[in-house]
Amino acid sequence: MSGLAHVARRNAPLALALVGLGVLGLALGRWLNGYYLQIVVLIGINIILAASLNLINGITGQFSLGHAGFLAIGAYVSAATTLGTGLTSAAVLPLSLLTGALAAALAGLAVGIPTLRLRGDYLAITTLGFGEIIRVVILNTDAVGGARGLGGIPTLAGFGSVYACAALCLVMLWRLVYSQRGAAFFAIREDEVAAAAMGIDTTRYKILAFVIGAFWAGLAGGLLAHFIGYLHTNSFTFLRSVEIVVMVVLGGLGSLTGCALAAAILTILPELLRFGAEYRMVIYALLLIAIMLIRPSGLMGGREISWPSWSSTPVR
């Protein structure tokens, strides 16, 4: 029992922060205009996506280009779950999110086992192919709307639920990779042969990273579905995967706080650039190039912004 009490005490600040975010969300929903609120919520979803891909790409060093595929699976499965129950109360949201996330994690396992034998470019191409397959399969599945898209999803997610999930995701990943055992993830990125010589089952860790990354991407998908209320396969193309990769690279490979920062910047930037009308995306691309020239190893360069003490001590 004292063990449970200890866990509760150590995690109480986290729980409190999550509740606080929920309350803040309610307040924001009342006061912030819809356009700003939407950007803020999309930042939260992108933080989850960037952090989860960072575990795979930046921390474990397995270059995946299929994150939009996991996002799509989570989005469609969770939307289908909600629509299937016929409920429109927020009580169904946790169930739907979890179903979507687990489906994505399962897909991560199925894709990870055969593909993680591949390295570098080969893995990137294979995961890219996987993402496209998912998209095309959904496009041709009439049960989830096919090319018409899937509409009428109750909009149950908002600032509170998105940021509660984002906070949970960051804390979980942080504790995972900065634990002594989690140092194995970085070790695999640094030198796989040496990592195996340290007694680390590299295949298992790579698959684990893939499954956990897919889980959170699926959860982000569920949040997206229940925030926008409408899904179409056009939102899950290869370009979406690239967008997430850019967040990870810009933030600094392996830096969780860095990729969260990059997710925020890259979500706001296109909105700020609206003055440029048709040149908007050109300016966006130029800015990206400029940032990478000035800071070649990303904004945070693999380091972390310091983190509250309750997140448990990182291995430093």
Partner: protein
């Protein structure tokens, strides 16, 4: 029966036989040297023992149990640790983190770390202390937080040993631990290797090109040439062996 025993191991890459019928034994607390000209198959023998390759024929036993064919991480978990000829540290991780990775497979569950359970806290403190002790042992405390790639060559060699010791080995395989270091560092390294053997009761198998060092350090020496054992025994006997002299200096001109 010796603690680590290779019995008639053969490994071929296509038509090239890299190692032929090699037998080798290391007991606890024993310092055994492996020497031979370049390309003789010394590192390949290390790769066989650590599971990078599985032998085509022959067996490898640790404490009486077959370990040939096991994947590298299982062999390390059974108690064989190694260093690499071309240093293979985790370059962007700090010296301390490198050592932590050696401990990682025995560092408690990931779920415990995520939930921050008290047991995870205890294990964390114990392992942190052990890692600090290893850094002290190998004279690396002042470089604790520096990225491994920024360390001097000699310090990198020492960090590789610290990292290997963190896996809790019974047998340590050192692949040219003194290569590229200064004469002074070489002296220190020899003392250190002896101390490790005495202190931890380790069986140590060591590949080295520096003849003086290996003759002085090892109780037994195995000489490889073209993948075969051409001599085996005490340093003095090996040094006098005509086949060894021939392998190193070429056949005598008449």
């Amino acid at each position: 029966m010796a603690f680590l025993e290779l019995d008639a191991c053969t490994l071929s890459f296509g038509g090239l036989t890299a190692v032929r019928d090699v037998s080798l034994a290391v007991d606890a607390g024993e310092l055994v040297g492996v020497i031979g000209p370049n390309g003789a198959g010394k590192t390949t023998v290390f790769n066989l023992i650590t599971g990078v390759y599985a032998p085509d024929r022959g067996t490898i036993r640790l404490d009486g149990q077959r370990i040939d064919g096991l994947p590298p991480h299982r062999i390390t978990q059974r108690g064989i640790a190694r260093t690499f000829q071309g240093i293979r540290l985790f370059p962007n991780m700090s010296a301390y983190q490198n050592v932590v990775v050696g401990h990682s497979p025995r560092a408690g569950g990931l779920l415990g770390a995520v939930l921050d359970t008290p047991r995870a806290g205890d294990t964390r403190a114990r392992i942190a202390a052990e890692c600090e002790a290893l850094l002290t042992l190998l004279d690396l405390t002042d470089r604790r937080d520096d990225a491994a790639r920024t360390l001097s060559y000699g310090a990198q060699r020492r960090l590789e040993i610290a990292r290997a010791l963190a896996t809790g080995p019974k047998v340590l395989l050192l692949d040219e631990p003194a290569a590229g270091t200064t004469p002074h560092e070489k002296r220190e390294m020899m003392q250190r290797i002896r101390w490790l053997r005495d202190h931890f009761g380790l069986g140590i198998l060591i590949i080295e090109h520096d003849m003086r060092m290996i003759m002085e350090l090892c109780e037994r020496i195995t000489v490889l040439d073209h993948g075969e054992v051409i001599a085996c025994g005490a340093p003095a006997a090996v040094r006098a062996n005509p086949r060894v002299i021939e392998a190193y200096l070429g056949p005598e001109q008449s």
